[in-house]
Amino acid sequence: MRYLPKSDSERREMLAVCGLQSAEELFAHLPEDVRFEAPLALPPGISEFEIVDYFHARSAENANGYASFLGAGVYAHYRPVMVDTVVSRGEFLTSYTPYQAEISQGTLTTIFEFQTMICQLTGMDVANASMYDGSTAVPEAALMAARITGRHRVLASRVVHPEYREVLRTYGRHGQLSIEEFGYLPDSGTLDLEDLERKIDNATGAVIVQSPNFFGIVEDIRSVAELAHKHGALLIVIFTEAVSLGILQPPVDADIVAGELQSFAIAPSYGGPYAGIIATKERFIRQMPGRLVGETTDSRGNRAFCLTLATREQHIRREKATSNICTNQALIALMATVFMSVYGKQGLRELAEQNLAKAHYLSSLLKPRFTGPFFNEFVASTNGRAPEEINQLLLKKKIIGGVALGKWYPELEHCVLLCATEMTRREHMDEVGRAFEPVPQAA
């Protein structure tokens, strides 16, 4: 087998060194009733050519050559060639968590740059080396807030991504968090501050909001922060569309920012792998989950980087750790780091401006359901038609329409969430505009 580098004569030589006649003797100590003698019921191994062929066939069974207006937490942005060039280097791809600092400075330096850029983008003091994804960063942030405040009640906005809220509920199941939700305003699509005010109390440890929210609308972070802080709760701000940070005011009034970086040159890849982040204020560092890289020196006084503040983590603290998380998403975070370097200060702004312009052009062709300001996605009303009907029309033109919202928001049964990015073409938007036009009634 091509992944096994030994010849049979080498195997025999090695067995002889071990004092064994056959490889089977290596397992002689296993209890007989545990050993599994039958061959695995899996087909024989195949060549590289056949593997490529197999996955080409599967790839062809998926959407190919479609224009798409899907967003809702996963965004189609252009991936600069540089990104895969860098992450394909074996030194990044095939290395382990950088515990051995002397031979891991490459990874450590890139993570330090990543942490710095996430702070610059979010306006927070510190950022960790990344989390699994945005959805799991949310309960981790909520648990962090509970540790800081000693309070376990969490109030989450209903316009936080529905699947993120489901993950939060799963983590809360065992009773460490009690999770309730507050509503949104039916006209603006922004969170309902008055509803929050009715529900918040002195047992509330965290208020969770998303901006731009699940409907794509920019929230007024400052007023939520004031309300949360008045009651001694922390404000957790979530983002799913990182490109928005190129143009939107950073959530500086938040205590914890948890987000998803998929937009930064991470392929949609049917839902993962992505990279989440948690960023926070300096005073909360020690309650933060996840890996952190710090600057220090070597014994000769050279600048060096290493993993630090590990006393928060599971391999040292075991059951008293801030989280059970062991890995970060180093390689995916590296994609985001390369993306941020390629676009830089001006590029990220220009990219955000293009997204803004495209989405607003699209909205000018449709009937936006809400009045709140939006970035690159928004909710459009179907004028009472079933979203499925419109999407079927679009599929015939090789266009995947927006996400129907009725599944999560029964009151928005006749609404669709549509996204436009720098990759969206005007001619496809015009098609969408036509598909939404009321069907002429037969005379």
């Binding site: 330090f112 489901e166 005011q249 052009y361």
Partner: protein, 500 residues
Amino acid sequence: MIAKVRSHITQNELLLFEQSSPGKKGYQLPPLDVPPVDAATVLGAANVRSEIDGFPEVSEVETIRHFTRLSTWNYAIDLGLYPLGSCTMKYNPRVNELVARLDGLAWAHPYQPEALAQGAMNIMARLEAALAEITGMDAVTLQPAAGAHGELTGILLIRALLEKRGNPRKKVLIPDSAHGTNPATAAIAGYSVENIRSNDCGSVDLAQLERIVDQDVAALMVTNPNTLGVFEANIKSIADILHKKGALLYMDGANMNALVGIAQPGRFGVDVMHLNLHKTFSTPHGGGGPGGGPVAVKKILEPFLPLPRLKHLRNRWTFDYKRPRSIGRVRAFYGNFGVIVRALAYILAHGGNGLRNATVDAVLNANYIRKKLEPHYDLPFKAPNMHEVVFSDDRQAKHGVRTGDIAKRLIDYGFHPYTVSFPLIVRGALMIEPTETEGKRELDLFADAMASIAQEVETDPELVRSAPHSTRISRVDEVTAARRPVLKWKPGTPSAKPAD
């Protein structure tokens, strides 16, 4: 003496921020095909940010050089043996990278219509089935993002089942040889942790277990083979003791590379386990992620698996959300699909027999290393080992040299160190897992290096204590890093000079 490497020049490199200059660009966007909008008008002036302070401005050439230079400061599997114990640092096949990047897979949106995602769903279903066969379990979820995330999923499943039976119970038992993620997971799932001591062979003590297991115990989390590389010979009896009292057996599959094709956890009493796709199934570690932590369960736990579940209906795949007893989602969407693709590519390449042969070679390599190093290092547990072997620094400590020093000296010989000071039940542990993808020559070079270091400890201990000597930076001051954390670059702060 040092046969594998010789010194070579590496490039110095500043941080991106230190190379920035206003106006430098590494990008160009196409012209906008719609009218531009004024951000302040459509978003409200208060919502629009000023420029991102300190964000880099570098050119394309500088960017590629930056990351390429940094990459040369890393060690990697592609450069040689990476013998970290229980980490299973095996070769990462490159074809896996290619297939994960095919357009129809890499650009698949999780919300695209199921009719246009059949290829992706087919891949997931095929991996679920393969993992069920390999583990001997009844059902698999691919949703957890990594090993520790799989552990959490598994313990939540156990809690859900016990709740349904009327009492979620209070405690999870964990052997003292376990990975730190096990107790951390149990705590996050709302259980208190009771550590149980290993016996003289490094295994779970049956008599002690019999005494401890009562109506408060929800589960035992066991790693098998354990972190000494020793198979829990009494695993069936362990399962019986738990099951008799209504508790469940969780298996940490971190060491599954010792068992694939040889033994199926489903047949030795395990109720639920996780796998690490980035260990056993060759997906790249990438400097710390992404991973994949599928969870395999017996039938009794199947109704509780995370939403959604794949279902084959009328000749096509669909997602089933109508599962009222599910613990809910543990992650948005369906899991780390890109990692799932790579793991399946690995399984297809090996096939059933190939997977078993890989296990045999992995165990052979570990036993070979054991034989070669036994004359030089103390072997505290003598039981036969599987895919990894644990020595102690007992003999070297007498010369004032500890496992961490030996590890650093190994770097000078051109190798990544083994796992240092773990498992905790061995004082001064050297935990070595070579994996099956190492050839005889690389193993011999490693054994020679370890023997040579053992010699140096006796003749020149300071040489070892002050290692590494050949790296671009010398030993790193981790104490100061933790005492005065500097976690981001700040403009204008004169930091220490870059390494030269």
